[in-house]
């Protein structure tokens, strides 16, 4: 298992634990409150998507003999950007919802761009590995 896969898988397990913990402390009336969006995205992006990123990079068909998994640099960039973006969101979004300030708003925009870049990096690296043979 390549190192970047180990990072993805271990981080995804951590996000799963954190997200389910957040599920306990968010608004008990079921409305979720300001923690609902971070809770959902820690599960959907931090756990599921991140696990897929890691396992796909490890298990999908080889790109070539010389570079079986495509670009290692792109995979590392995707890992860093995804987690940077997600952590920024998880911290800034509830704070911004309670007390909106321009710096917190800018952090949310940076988080959006970081996660988008991570997604594009994964797609670019994975697309040529999805093949019949």
């Amino acid at each position: 298992m390549p190192p970047v896969t180990r990072w993805h898988v271990k981080l995804s397990l951590l996000y799963l634990v954190v997200a389910l913990g957040l599920g306990i402390v968010q608004a008990p009336d079921g409305s979720g409150g300001v923690l609902f969006a971070p809770y959902v995205h820690l599960l959907a992006v931090g756990w599921i998507t991140q696990m897929i990123f890691g396992v796909a990079y490890w298990m999908f068909p080889r790109f070539s003999k010389e570079r079986p998994r495509g670009s290692n640099e792109l995979a590392i960039a995707a890992c860093i950007l995804l987690n940077l973006g997600l952590i920024l969101r998880a911290v800034a979004e509830p704070l911004h919802a309670r007390h909106a300030t321009p710096p917190l708003g800018a952090l949310l925009a940076i988080s959006a761009v970081a996660q988008w870049l991570a997604g594009m990096a994964f797609v670019i690296n994975t697309w040529p590995r999805v093949k019949e043979r």
């Binding site: 959907a44 599921i48 998507t49 897929i52 796909a56 068909p61 969101r89 800034a92 979004e93 911004h96 917190l104 708003g105 800018a106 952090l107 949310l108 925009a109 988080s111 959006a112 761009v113 996660q115 988008w116 991570a118 997604g119 594009m120 994964f122 797609v123 994975t126 697309w127 999805v130 093949k131 019949e132 043979r133």
Partner: protein, 139 residues
């Protein structure tokens, strides 16, 4: 990898790109407002991310990699059912995802959900017998 899995997986990558783009717009709007019109994209974002990206990736990978019935690539159960599941899940996704924009009647949205559910049934039928202790490696 069978052709139907290739279609599932490549579609899931397209939906990942689309879902992350829509999600980035919505998150950006929370920090630096673009306007309330952007929130009409939310149902499509949810549908594309969960059904288009995650569900299709799981379906395509399961059909490809689960133990086969025999030595040939064709022995993965009924490929026609897998293709039907692919068509239904995509039809359902767009029907449900576009409800905010197009203003479909409730019955059409229900039909979309039904198409997604039927796709899940077809995939479960195909994968059920292949879920066993031992098998051949994927090709």
């Amino acid at each position: 990898m069978p052709r139907v899995s290739l279609w599932f997986l490549r579609s899931s990558l397209v939906y990942l790109a689309l879902g992350f783009t829509l999600g980035a717009l919505l998150l950006w709007d929370k920090g630096l407002p673009l306007g309330p019109a952007v929130w009409v994209l939310r149902p499509l974002h949810v549908e594309v991310a969960l059904v288009g990206w995650v569900l299709q990736l799981v379906m395509g990978t399961a059909y490809w990699i689960f133990p086969r019935f025999g030595m040939t690539a064709a022995q993965r159960g009924r490929e026609d059912l897998a293709w039907l599941a692919f068509g239904l899940v995509n039809a359902g996704l767009w029907t449900v995802g576009l409800q905010g924009w197009v203003g479909f009647p409730a019955a059409v949205t229900t039909l979309g959900r039904g198409a997604e559910a039927l796709a899940a049934v077809l995939m479960a039928v195909n994968i059920w017998a292949r879920t066993r202790a031992s098998g051949l490696s994927p090709m």
